[in-house]
């Protein structure tokens, strides 16, 4: 089964849940698709088996062939090509690699070159489990290709946990594609509730079955519980806020090794998520 872990709001505990669930479940791999700010690797003990750059294509104009006709600039919808009286200026960062400019050039002056936008790391943990993550180069605009490559290289494995990016934009949509189930990690604050709404809609649109884990639970704020009830969303588990937990987290430690009650939480959540799996 492919299980996506996501949140809407950042910092609710996606990575905490993903890394601890990964450690608890013997037959699951973990991939971290938060390629802008991946954190799972900070909590795990692993050896890198393979590091591969991911490239994007961008146009290069041959000045000897170019007649400055301007067609490439006219057709580029991303303002990535500007044709001046003297030369063609290409912005690699703005380019979406759509291929339009190359196709419209009457002089065949445009070829595509490759530029690295980030790297994918495939690793084995100290207990011989598969863990992979991607890291987008700073300054790059979009990491969707990185997410898609990371997934295509790992989705042949039968059981994968996906530590997704926050929000619900294109990289999150790419991360949940093909998932069988999802866990939303939220927190009992007005922001946690408000930001959960957009991922609920994203998962409903994608037809993915999901439940919610409430992290940092224990406050008097009950809005989130009302929201779950009203929207008929199952509660997979609650994890209490404790200063000791924040401290273990701050040091990059896996809570499952330090906190028995937390381990019980993980067991409960795993049971909910995997429910019916072996009968299917």
């Amino acid at each position: 089964m492919k299980i996506a872990i996501l949140s809407g709001k950042g910092g609710t505990g996606k990575t905490t849940l993903a890394t601890n669930l990964f450690t608890y479940l013997e037959d699951y791999a973990l991939i971290d698709t938060d390629i802008e700010e991946p954190n799972s690797h900070l909590f795990l003990d692993f050896t890198i088996q393979d590091k591969t750059p991911v490239y994007k294509d961008y146009p290069v104009v041959d000045p000897n062939r170019c007649t400055l006709c301007g067609k490439c600039g006219e057709h580029c919808n991303f303002n990535a090509i500007i044709v001046t009286a003297k030369k063609v200026i290409v912005s690699e960062d703005l380019c979406h690699s759509c291929g339009f400019c190359k196709a419209v050039c009457p002089e065949k002056a445009i070829t595509y070159a490759k530029k690295s936008i980030g790297d994918i790391y495939h690793t084995k943990t100290s207990s011989e489990k598969d863990f992979s993550y991607g890291l987008l180069n700073t300054g790059e605009v979009s990491g969707v290709v990185l997410v898609e490559t990371l997934k295509s290289e790992t989705f042949a494995m039968p059981n994968v946990l996906i530590d997704c990016p926050p929000g619900a934009a294109c990289t999150t949509a790419a991360s949940i594609e093909g998932a069988d189930k999802a866990i939303i990690v939220s927190e009992p604050t007005p922001f946690g509730v408000s930001d959960m709404d957009i991922v609920v809609e994203l998962l409903n649109n994608a037809g993915i079955d999901f439940g919610v884990v409430i992290n940092k639970a224990g406050s008097a704020d009950t809005e989130i519980y009302d929201y779950l009830e009203k929207n008929h969303i199952p509660l997979y588990g609650e994890i209490l806020y404790k200063a000791s937990r924040a401290r273990h987290y701050s040091k990059g430690e896996l809570l499952i090794y330090h906190d028995e009650a937390f381990k019980e939480n993980i067991k409960t959540i795993a049971a909910h998520v995997l429910e019916g799996e072996h009968h299917a």
Binding site: G143, A168, S250
Partner: protein
């Protein structure tokens, strides 16, 4: 005009909490919530939503199946795999390049404006606010961020307001780049955790590309004092200043839950010398 952006790299470090807390000290203010995936400023600030408009971020193809000869050229040529073999658009994949329309030999493709979210204006006690809500899974969210900022600048000019406070989103890619491009200064909110420090370094690398003045704020500083020291050392090595340390304080969380701006709420931190000095420095 002065634009101040608040970002963090890592999510949940306290961007919105800080943005909300500084707002009451500014006069002649416009507020821009650029976290278009998860806009939260309105929860505490909005007195009234004054405008709500669709934002058309890109054009997407529509197909005239009476004309289509099923040559599959559009399907084969789409760099984003946005057109299925049966010539249907796969939602959320199209990036709006218009190449398919150009390629179609029988003019069976027409491009239509596609809404990627809502753009809203609000009235608040501290000045007008612009925010937006992206539709789930949409491309081009950076354009929506830019639009929020453009509208905020327009409002500031029209109403002769001097300062724009921008609340950003987590990450380092399109949304954050659109949030900080051309602003006057950036406040980076971090936390003393391994994740916080890892993500801080990446977001600082990004801001340096744009050559914008940076102030670092350590939130929840008391969670791990050793890590707070580590942040200070890193900042010193990189000629950056930690302008403020905010202790972890459950009353701040409770204030947010009560929908009270933290600096106007129960926490004693906001009566401290440190906070007052920070505010004085900022305004």
């Amino acid at each position: 005009m002065r634009e101040i952006a608040i970002i963090s790299g890592k999510g949940g470090t306290g961007k919105t909490t800080l943005a909300l807390s500084i707002i009451p000290y500014f006069k002649e203010l416009v507020i821009a919530d650029c976290d278009v995936d998860a806009p939260d400023m309105k929860i505490l600030l909005s007195q009234k939503q004054t405008e709500k408009n669709l934002f058309y971020g890109l054009q997407i193809p529509t197909f005239d199946y009476d004309r289509c000869i099923d040559c599959k050229l559009c399907h084969q040529s789409c760099a984003f795999n946005a057109i299925s073999e049966s010539i249907e658009l796969i939602p959320g994949k199209c990036e709006g390049c218009n190449f398919c329309e150009y390629l179609c030999p029988v003019n069976a493709i027409t491009m239509e404006n596609h809404a990627i979210g809502h753009l809203n204006k609000h009235q608040t006690a501290y000045g007008p606010m612009v925010d937006a809500k992206l539709f789930p899974g949409q491309e081009s969210s950076g354009k929506l961020v830019s639009e929020v900022r453009d509208k905020a600048i327009e409002l500031a000019k029209d109403t002769h307001r001097e300062t724009i406070i921008i609340d950003g989103s987590p990450g380092v890619a399109c949304n954050v780049i659109s949030t900080i491009t051309g602003v006057d200064e950036v406040l980076v909110v971090t936390e003393p955790t391994m994740s916080g420090i890892h993500d801080l370094k990446r977001v600082i690398d990004l801001i340096k590309i744009f050559n914008i003045p940076i102030h670092v704020i350590v939130n929840k500083a008391t969670i791990n004092e050793a890590k707070t020291e580590e942040i200070k050392e890193y900042c010193q090595e990189n000629n950056l200043k930690v302008l403020l340390e905010i202790p972890f304080d459950q009353t701040i969380v409770n204030d947010i839950s009560r929908k009270v701006i933290p600096s106007l709420g129960e926490s004693t931190f906001f009566k401290s010398k440190d906070w007052k000095a920070f505010v004085k420095h900022l305004i």
